[in-house]
């Protein structure tokens, strides 16, 4: 039996501090006023300006057009996160179902066509992707924001792996019980995939919410700005100002990281299960 040593705890405490302190500092600092931060630097204590700062960030209209608020950015981020996650799950479940449960001539080819996308991330084909979007007239639209991100095989891969681990006898029993392709999918496969769907939803939501490069290119109209895009803007405004709005930048950062961090912490076990059992 291994006996826990003090040094084990020490390493873990140092690690946890290294990882978590910046987040705590970001939150605490966001409750101070900009001038306070400018004078005293980052802070580990409560500043009392919480309501003012967050109210301002969430409701004050800003940007060039004066139409954008923190709230609208939160909503756009939510739309992107949820839209992406739902789209991903629907598309990839159907595709994986076809690949795993059907025998058809193009199966191998389809598999390759889909899974080649795992090799090239969006970042390396960003310029031509942008051009395609502008040719299709999809710049500054939710469709343009969400749909191109669905062009990857990660979700399909998750579900393919999962479907393959479903015992064969379940399909056999269902066929003897008179279930056809639709019935089997709806009555059996979707219900037993529930945990998997939840886990993938969480992972995909976080992925969509955290998108940066793509929204930055796709949206010039501020009505479509997400929080990540907002962070970029707030930094651009920054250059040249005397006392930058540190507090607002931190508040925006806190808003941007709060939902994903909360989801990961709350749904920890699902999240880890989803990641480690299929993200390969």
């Amino acid at each position: 039996m291994y006996r826990t040593r003090f040094s084990d705890h020490l390493v873990l405490i140092v690690g946890a501090l290294f990882l978590c302190t910046p987040v705590v500092v970001a939150f605490m600092t966001s409750t101070h006023t900009a001038a306070d931060i400018h004078m005293n630097g980052l802070s580990l204590t409560w500043g009392g300006n919480f309501i003012d700062t967050y109210e301002k960030v969430l409701t004050q209209k800003g940007g060039f057009t004066g139409e954008i608020t923190g709230t609208s950015m939160v909503i756009n981020s939510l739309i992107l996160g949820v839209g992406f996650a739902v789209g991903k799950i629907v598309l990839s479940m159907l595709a994986a179902y076809a690949i795993v449960y059907f025998r058809f001539p193009m199966a191998t080819l389809s598999f390759w066509v889909i899974f080649t996308t795992l090799l090239l991330p969006l970042e390396v084909r960003i310029m031509p992707s942008y051009q395609v979007m502008s040719e299709l007239g999809l710049l500054n639209s939710y469709t343009g924001l969400i749909v191109p991100l669905l062009a990857s095989a990660t979700g399909t891969f998750y579900f393919r792996q999962f479907f393959k681990s479903v015992p064969e006898e379940l399909l056999e029993a269902a066929r003897i019980d008179g279930a056809g392709p639709f019935k089997f999918f709806i009555d059996i496969l979707v219900p037993i995939s529930r945990t998997m769907i939840a886990a993938i939803f969480i992972i995909m939501f976080v992925y969509g919410w955290n998108q940066y490069l793509w929204p930055m290119l796709m949206t010039t109209d501020e009505r479509f700005f997400t929080l990540m895009r907002g962070i970029k803007s707030i930094l651009q405004v920054w250059i040249g100002s005397q006392i930058p709005d540190y507090n607002e930048a931190f508040a925006l950062a806190v808003l941007a990281m709060l939902p994903p961090v909360a989801i990961v912490v709350i749904f920890q076990s699902w999240f880890i299960k989803g990641l480690t059992e299929s993200d390969k």
Binding site: P167, E169, L170, E172, A173, A174, R175, I176, D177, G178, A179, K183, D187, I188, P191, I192, R194
Partner: protein, 365 residues
């Protein structure tokens, strides 16, 4: 309920691998057939072809009066019990039992009646609202049986249904399956690799090897007159001793020992001889064959002595109190010997070449 007629059935997989060839089997209405053989012998494939889960490459399968080769599994009027039960994990026991009936648009009242009856029969009524994961292995097994029963199918197909249970439960479930089948009178095909299970359940045994039928017959038939060395070695525990020997006229030479056959010799020259462990008896010194004991297995009611006759391994079964010494002398009644062709392993009938004074391989005992 229906008869099942399997004729000239074969299975060839893509890529030309032949799993099953030329199976002919007439299963009577209400009969309990057990397909038994080592893993890879094609027994599951044959069952799955009857179920419609594998395409039939050659031959035809008839259930009742209908050729079902091209019929969907759901329309074959069969029910299947799987090794891992294949219960739908997200459905309650009741929903599991109902699912097939609902898909057939059976009226609700009829569904309820059948489910309740099956549940009572299997004593799972109190678990009807549980999910499968809240049940023990034996209970899941019952639910899987229930799912088959509620369908009132023409035939039950069992694919090693007991092999996930522990030994004790297996024995009791075995009895229960037999009892249920008797009571319902439903034609059944049961696949197992366990020869004891096969012996105890079957009306008729079908011993398969390498995708072909080795022997079909009642359990006792197969036990007492195995058609080949394969069947002889597979059916019965301890397995029948198979030793190389030579027929010299009316004498049988096993190593250095000579046994007088009293006219039972079927042929001459090299043969394989089968001796059931329980047919061998201990005789006084220098009367039979010398048997060098290597080790003893205690079964309580029996003692199994493993050892050598000449240089060939032989096992003898003795009563629980029998005395065992390092070297013993053993003998066998010539009528209890089984002869097999040394090359093909096929049974040789002793009666063929001898005067018919002795009642030869009729089932004895």
């Amino acid at each position: 309920m229906a008869a099942i007629d399997i004729s000239s059935v074969g299975k060839i997989y893509n890529g030309g691998v032949r799993a099953v060839s030329d199976i002919n089997l007439d299963i009577k209405d209400g009969e309990f057939i057990v397909l038994v053989g080592p893993s890879g012998c094609g027994k599951s494939t044959l069952l799955r072809m009857v179920a419609g889960l594998e395409a039939i490459s050659e031959g035809t399968v008839k259930i009742g009066d209908r050729v079902v080769n091209e019929v969907e599994p759901a329309d074959r009027d069969i029910a299947m019990v799987f090794q891992n039960y294949a219960l739908y994990p997200h459905m309650s026991v009741r929903q599991n039992l109902e699912y097939g009936l609902k898909n057939r648009r059976t009226p609700k009242a009829e569904i309820d009646a059948r489910v309740n009856e099956a549940a009572r029969m299997l004593e799972i009524t109190q678990y009807l609202d549980r999910k499968p994961r809240a049940l023990s292995g034996g209970q899941r097994q019952r639910v899987a049986m229930g799912r088959a029963i509620v369908r009132k199918p023409a035939a039950f197909l069992f694919d090693e249904p007991l092999s996930n249970l522990d030994a004790k439960l297996r024995v009791s479930m075995r009895g229960e399956i037999k009892r249920l089948q008797r009571r319902l009178g439903t034609t059944s095909i049961y696949v197992t690799h366990d020869q004891l299970e096969a012996m105890t359940l079957a009306d008729r045994l079908v011993v398969l090897n390498g995708g072909q039928i080795e022997q079909v017959g009642s359990p006792l038939d197969v036990y007492h007159t195995p058609a080949s060395t394969f069947v002889a070695g597979f059916i019965g525990s301890p397995a029948m001793n198979l030793v190389k020997a030579e027929l010299q006229g009316d004498k049988l030479a096993i190593g250095p020992s000579l046994i007088s056959l009293d006219g039972y010799a079927p042929t001459s020259g090299a043969v394989t001889v089968g001796l059931r462990a329980e047919d061998l008896r201990v005789v006084s010194a220098n009367e039979g064959m010398p048997f060098i004991v290597e080790y003893v297995e205690e079964l309580g009611s029996q003692r199994l002595a493993h050892g050598l006759v000449g240089d060939q391994a032989v096992t003898i079964a003795l009563s629980g109190e029998a005395e065992i010494t390092d070297t013993m002398w053993i003998a066998i009644d010539p009528s209890r010997l089984h002869f097999f062709d040394a090359g093909t392993g096929k049974r040789l009938e002793a009666r063929a070449t001898v005067t018919a004074t002795a009642p030869v391989p009729e089932p004895v005992g």
